[in-house]
Symmetry: C2
Subunit: 329 residues, 2 copies
């Protein structure tokens, strides 16, 4: 495989490099792209130092896959160049996710959708991937009708800057210094912020809308209704989601536990209450607190946690690439 | 008023003393009770130093009110002694909350229930108080049928030890030292723990059951159904709750905003997304993110925050005492 990575110096870009190395893919060439200020620097891959380059005329030639971890604006700018060079673009931004011609893929759930691509495949939103890993297992029992979700999202969702802002604010609070807010709209240290992304006219944030819109597409369930509140919490890497759901038929705790255990990439956590810390730095989504829902007849309540930088972003993109490569004609 | 405080050295006990001072109550005597190891120590009240005493034979004589901030076990032990001395016991523990003869009171919601007491009045669970302050306002429009709630609970809910454990763990993480867990079942620094209290046979925690059981009693709404997930987050003082609810009739965002603005003790937050930090160290419960619910037809989604040590515990208990004193025959 000849692979390019856009945004290689960011939190997700670096994790993509690490995932490719860990998964021991057969990499013939790895080209790392970053902004101009990274020129002259390198990043390590399999014991070598790979120089960072910028996107310029012809830079994608002879690549098979380009993994993108850049903004929507840059993603839209680079996509035609990647297409022209004949590479498949696996995009982590939300620029193309809801376009009909673009498959939106979590390989364990709808890997086969990836094969219908026309040059671009989109990687879903991080909270959506982590929630759906638990929920897609349940959909094998009965189609999901409604879902009420509240998220507990790590600062990593805002990139490398989010990590630094949490650390420096925590140090500031402990040392009685003034707090600066650059990445998040309010202090995140010792706080929770119920506002991620921008508000639409219905008072729903862009982050909250993704759970319903992307969920419908990935699960092939156009009538799925999701009421979601997305909240940033002072956690470094993993997102957690509290979910109440109702399927078309009544489901039991035992059925749900069995469905999760039979689904690749998701596990019922050993002590029944996984935390974001315990799901960090690995690729499995952990589920716990599985119980009958009090409000939804025959419904289920659960809690799930997964590493947002890995399965919520980088690992999922690399898995899409592997899926394509394994299934290529 | 001649007032006793049980557990005066704890987080809630200290806050009770501060609330009584702030609210400028007409206090003839204040007796502060703590454990034996506090003997010889004092706590300040209105510029005086009040000696700490222990509970012993005759210690409650000539008191009008005793405010309790002790464990269920101690509360059960002391209640008969307080009753015998002729004082009214306002108890912050959960020992008596669901007993028929014991009013469970949030003064702004069901203050008149307090007048029917037989010697004991219970102060509700902290998350329940904060959620109901928002929800009781809505119930004035139409009775609430169902509620799905996820909590973001501060470490103060576990008392003074919770504060110290969060701080020392955060310092430990930043300095690469080993983390000790004494108060919470897992590391709380940079983590979220979806397990507060003990699990019942249905997989619901004692904390989660309170929201439904106490909510029914306080709101005089015996059919209210609450699906709740209670989660501890690394925040110091205020609890936050994400709520989706459905009333018997359809309600609108405008009706809800107006109802909240007309209800004492609760406010729609100025910028629409209050955080626990912004609701700390004061008595108002802030509400934000009010929008149509996607799952419940005619229902509403909202987010509320309130200081758990104050309105969630100490202030509410002091308000019950004031209510009784103002309405005494």
């Amino acid at each position: 495989m000849r692979i390019g990575i856009l945004g290689a110096t960011g939190a997700v870009g670096r994790q993509m490099i690490q995932c490719i190395e860990e998964r021991n893919l057969d990499v013939e060439e790895l080209r790392l792209f970053a902004s101009e200020r990274s020129l002259g620097k390198t990043l390590p891959f399999k014991g070598e130092e790979i120089p960072l380059r910028i996107v310029e005329e012809g830079c994608f030639e002879n690549l098979d896959y380009v993994l993108g971890a850049v903004s929507n604006a840059l993603s839209k700018e680079y996509a035609p160049m990647i297409h022209k060079a004949g590479a498949v673009y696996i995009d982590n931004s939300s620029a193309f996710r809801l376009e009909d011609a673009v498959p939106l893929v979590v390989p364990e759930i709808n890997g086969e959708d990836a094969l219908k691509h026309e040059g671009i495949i989109a990687n879903p939103n991080c909270s959506t991937i982590i929630t759906l890993m638990a929920v897609a297992a349940i959909q094998k029992i009965s189609p999901i009708k409604t879902m009420v979700a509240s998220t507990y999202q790590a600062v990593s969702g805002a990139g490398i800057g989010g990590f630094g802002e949490l650390t420096s604010q925590v140090q500031g609070v402990l040392n009685g210094k003034e707090i600066e807010c650059n990445v998040f709209p309010k202090q995140i240290a010792f706080n929770c912020i119920p506002m991620i992304g921008s508000l639409n006219e219905d008072g729903i944030t862009s982050e909250e809308a993704k759970m319903q819109n992307e969920g419908r597409k990935i699960l092939h369930n156009p009538n799925l209704k999701v009421s979601c509140t997305c909240v940033r919490v002072p956690v470094y890497r993993s997102h957690s989601i509290s979910v109440s759901l109702q399927c078309e038929k009544a489901i039991t705790v035992e059925e749900v536990e069995a469905a999760i255990q039979n689904f690749e990439g998701v596990e019922v956590f050993k002590d029944g209450f996984p935390t974001p810390l315990e799901s960090s730095n690995q690729d499995i989504v952990y589920v716990g607190r599985i119980r009958e829902d009090v409000v939804f007849d025959g419904g289920i309540t659960l809690w799930c946690c997964g590493d947002q930088v890995r399965k919520g972003a980088a690992t999922n993109a690399v898995q899409i690439m592997e899926y394509l490569d394994t299934h290529k004609v």
